[in-house]
């Protein structure tokens, strides 16, 4: 645990009556915002999708309004400088910013050049820059990769390089906008540790994240935004105790331990403060009593095998072996997750399942036919894949045309049937009002739903593969997508999810296939998976806070039943 450097009361960032409207938008993105970020403090910025978090971040380094334009009223100062009067490049001496997708932040080819890029722009002495490059790379543990090409880095290394590049600028303020959105849990944890270490060294950190588990207890301040307004600001514990239920209502992810506390408090069953960390929760619930385990409701083994993979290997043209002897079955009606570290072979496996690649060794049998006998287009009638970026799969100029295209591609050309099915699907996914909109103009959640709709509207798909269902989505959008997925499952569609989200895995799936370095290292239920620390470590996974709470209670000899996979399960099992 990193020791907190004392934050001072001197403000580093000050927002006075700030209202900002993006160019061409009818309503303001930020409204009457007053806030302060103290020097040396660690501030969490939370809120649902579209609440104004990224806009606020871009005000901190002057991108707004200087580059993106728009209308700014009120005053924002960073390190005593008015951000609307000092050029963005000058503000780079005060604010370092790590963007959501650092790959696009990189301006050079090699790791060491990338870290040097910012200080070089500020005309620092080359000798000093080289020292700072070395220090920054050491800081993030990438010294050995300094000569590597930036595009050859893994997802986690890319994030760490982004962080090193920001650290090397030596700014008093570091702004991090969702730095771990697409990382495996263990890499996320290591990036979190780095952030805490930076704060420990006196830098001011503003962090936007949906992954609050590890930060709520560490942060000095928490700012809650909704529809551009600051709903609450203060110490995280105070904000949670006062606005916890409001935060949940807004669709923000909170640690499961906190959610349990909030629910119990709302029911009048908790008199103490809402716990934030696992340790606090173990203390709070140390005297709790639980109902005995209920027999599992659904233990029947599903027998109809849709996909059978036997000793599958896949090697890319550059000799990179992405899959090594992977065998598994996917049965009718299951909800299976493929999990594992970044680069473990999950996406390659999904490409093999939809026929975009063929195994270089071994065999996959799909619906009774071998993979090599399937054409991609034919297989698409049986297996639907929803890409992580749904924009990639859109082909038409309106949502309606997009759905019609899918039907036409399946040979359904009766205009009456097409109109009926499109209408039904639009209503079912609650996107009817956007039927004439361009697919690219939809919100992130609606794009995801349209992605699912385009793949399922023909009604012939038996297996749905969803790549990272929670990526870029807040809690409400994720829950709505999972509701859709669960409904599809009820209708008999088998679901395969590729995900890093352990909470999702624990709450929804029957079975997890765990991948590490191209090999399958586990195939079983979530209970077994989360009971094996070695396995989790090998696959760069982490148990959910709920699982760690249950383990902590059991270590204190409290009888906690099996099968508590969600907050609702836990609260429901308490006597």
């Amino acid at each position: 645990m990193t020791r907190n450097a004392p934050s001072t009361d001197k403000p580093l960032v000050q927002f006075d009556q700030v209202t900002y409207q993006h160019y061409g938008k009818p309503t303001p993105a930020l409204l009457d915002v007053n806030l302060t970020v103290r020097r040396g403090s660690f501030t969490l910025l939370v809120g649902p999708s579209g609440s104004g978090k990224s806009t606020l971040c871009m005000l901190l380094n002057g991108i707004i309004p200087q580059i993106l334009g728009g209308k700014l009223n009120g005053k924002v100062t960073v390190d005593g400088q008015d951000i609307s009067k000092i050029p963005v490049q000058e503000l780079a001496k005060s604010t370092g910013m790590l963007f959501q997708d650092p790959e696009w932040m990189f301006a050079t080819l090699k790791v060491e050049d990338e870290v040097a890029f910012g200080p070089e722009n500020l005309r620092r002495n080359p000798t000093e820059i080289l020292e700072s490059v070395e220090q920054s790379l050491n800081y993030v543990g990438m010294e050995h990769l300094r000569k590597n090409l930036v595009w050859a880095l893994s997802g986690g290394q890319t994030q760490k390089l982004g962080l090193a590049s920001v650290i090397a600028m030596g700014t008093p303020l570091i702004v991090l906008d969702e730095p771990t959105a697409n990382l495996d849990p263990a890499t996320t944890h290591s990036v979190h540790e780095l952030i805490l270490r930076l704060r420990g060294e006196g830098r001011s950190i503003v962090l936007v994240t949906k992954d609050l588990d590890e930060f709520m207890a560490e942060a000095d301040d928490m700012i809650l935004l909704d529809k551009g307004r600051v709903i609450a600001q203060g110490a995280p514990r105070d904000v949670i105790n006062t606005y916890g239920n409001k935060i949940l209502e807004l669709g923000v992810w909170l640690p499961e331990t906190t959610e349990i506390g909030l629910r119990l408090k709302a029911e009048g069953k908790l008199k103490k403060d809402v716990p934030i960390t696992v340790e606090e929760a173990v203390d709070v619930f140390a005297n709790a009593r639980f109902k005995p385990s209920r027999p599992s409701e659904n233990t029947e083994r599903k027998e109809t095998v849709l996909i059978h993979a036997e000793d599958v290997e896949f090697t890319y043209g550059n000799k990179f072996k992405a899959l090594r002897g992977v065998s598994f079955d996917i049965r009718q009606g299951e909800l299976v997750a493929i999990v594992g570290q970044n680069g473990a072979g999950k996406s390659t496996l999904s490409k093999l399942l939809v026929g975009l690649q063929k195994p270089t060794h071994g065999e996959i049998t799909m619906f009774g036919r071998k993979a090599r006998q399937w054409k991609v287009q034919d297989l698409a009638t049986q297996i639907a894949l929803v890409f992580q970026n749904p924009e990639h799969q859109f082909l038409c100029d309106t949502v309606r045309e997009e759905l019609e295209y899918s039907l036409l591609a399946q040979g359904i050309d009766d205009r009456i049937i097409i109109n009926q099915r499109v209408k039904n699907m639009l209503e079912r996914l609650e996107i009817s009002e956007t039927s004439d909109s361009h697919p690219f103009s939809l919100s992130a959640g609606a794009k995801r739903r349209l992605g699912v709709a385009t793949m399922l509207i023909a009604g012939s798909a038996r297996l749905l593969i969803v790549d990272e269902p929670t990526y870029g989505q807040d809690r409400r959008l994720t829950e709505s997508l999972m509701e859709l997925i669960n409904n599809l499952r009820q209708e008999g569609i088998t679901i395969l999810m590729i995900t890093h989200d352990m909470r999702l895995v624990d709450a929804h799936i029957d079975r997890a296939i765990v991948m590490a370095n191209g090999q399958k290292i586990f195939d079983g239920g979530p209970d077994k998976l989360f009971q094996s620390p070695e396995l989790l470590q090998r696959a760069s996974l982490r148990a959910t806070t709920l699982r760690r709470l249950v383990d902590g209670l059991r270590e204190r000899d409290i009888l906690v039943p099996d099968g508590l996979n969600t907050v609702a399960d836990f609260v429901g099992a308490m006597q």
């Binding site: 871009m58 991108i63 580059i67 050029p87 963005v88 490049q89 000058e90 780079a92 370092g96 910013m97 963007f99 790959e103 696009w104 932040m105 301006a107 050079t108 080819l109 090699k110 060491e112 050049d113 040097a116 890029f117 910012g118 070089e120 722009n121 500020l122 005309r123 620092r124 002495n125 080359p126 820059i129 080289l130 490059v133 090409l149 595009w151 050859a152 600028m169 890319y316 043209g317 550059n318 990179f320 490409k351 939809v354 975009l356 991609v376 287009q377 297989l379 698409a380 894949l385 890409f387 924009e391 990639h392 799969q393 082909l395 899918s406 036409l408 591609a409 040979g411 050309d413 690219f440």
Partner: protein
């Protein structure tokens, strides 16, 4: 794992270690020399020379060259066919059972060889040059760094755009084909590749622009460099040897060839 053909290969080869400006001058000299050559035999020798450098001195993997070939072959073959069909010929020859005009064939081959030599030399430059070295080189000879950097960024993002195209192609493949004609379907796909890649490209280019500005790019009229540009002796020799080779080739085809 990316397998794209047009990107820097940091293999420490002899050609990789030559400074970027000498290589750039070499590419320009290759283009000038190619236009000075008057026979397809001489162009063939020039092509062999370039291929020899690619294989022996740059050690570019055959697979990478193979992956880049469609670009060269499509451009070269199109020019070849257009010339065969459009150039008026007075004599005719038979190739693989087809009778074609001799002058059209010669002109077609000339264009094919020219384009192949020039494109391969340019590819060799991309395969063996860390574009940052080119940028510092251009700044070294007086180009404002903002302009030098724009060339650099364009080449820096080429592999990422290729990845984007691949992702879009894969996604479209599994959508299947609506009951349009194959040509209409193909047209629609291309239209959509372009749309998606341009929209995402612009979006990402905007993000990149924001990111580099926020890292102080353009704060001052100049900037410091941790790696400064240095002319290399090998670069000097490359230029001298190539000039000698090209001069000999021109002399050979004009005076020695029967």
């Amino acid at each position: 794992m990316s397998e794209h053909s047009l990107r820097y290969i940091d293999n420490g080869s002899f050609f990789t270690r030559i400074d970027a400006l000498s290589k750039l001058i070499w590419v320009l000299l290759v283009i000038i020399a190619t236009f000075q050559l008057g026979s397809n035999e001489a162009r063939g020798i020039m092509l062999a020379f370039i291929v020899l450098i690619i294989l022996l001195f740059a050690r570019v993997p055959l697979k990478t060259i193979w992956q880049a070939m469609p670009i060269i072959l499509i451009m070269g073959t199109l020019l070849f066919i257009v010339n065969i069909l459009t150039v008026k010929s007075t004599s005719f020859i038979t190739i693989a059972g087809y009778t074609v005009g001799e002058q059209g064939y010669d002109r077609g081959l000339e264009f094919f060889l020219r384009i192949t030599i020039m494109v391969l030399a340019s590819f060799l430059f991309i395969w063996t040059t860390d574009i940052r070295d080119l940028m510092t080189g251009l700044v070294h000879i007086g180009m404002p760094y903002r302009y030098a950097f724009s060339i650099f960024l364009a080449l820096r993002f080429l592999p990422i755009v290729q990845q984007e195209v691949d992702a879009v192609k894969a996604a479209h493949a599994i959508r299947g084909r609506a009951s349009y004609s194959p040509i209409r379907h193909r047209f629609r796909l291309w239209q959509r590749y372009m749309f998606t890649v341009i929209v995402n490209g612009l979006r990402k280019a905007e993000n990149t622009a924001l990111a580099i500005e926020s890292r102080g790019f353009g704060a001052y009229p100049d900037r410091t460099y941790t790696k400064s540009f240095r002319w290399t002796k090998t670069g000097f020799f490359l230029i001298i040897i190539f000039i000698a080779f090209a001069a000999w080739l021109i002399y050979w085809e004009r005076f020695l060839r029967a």
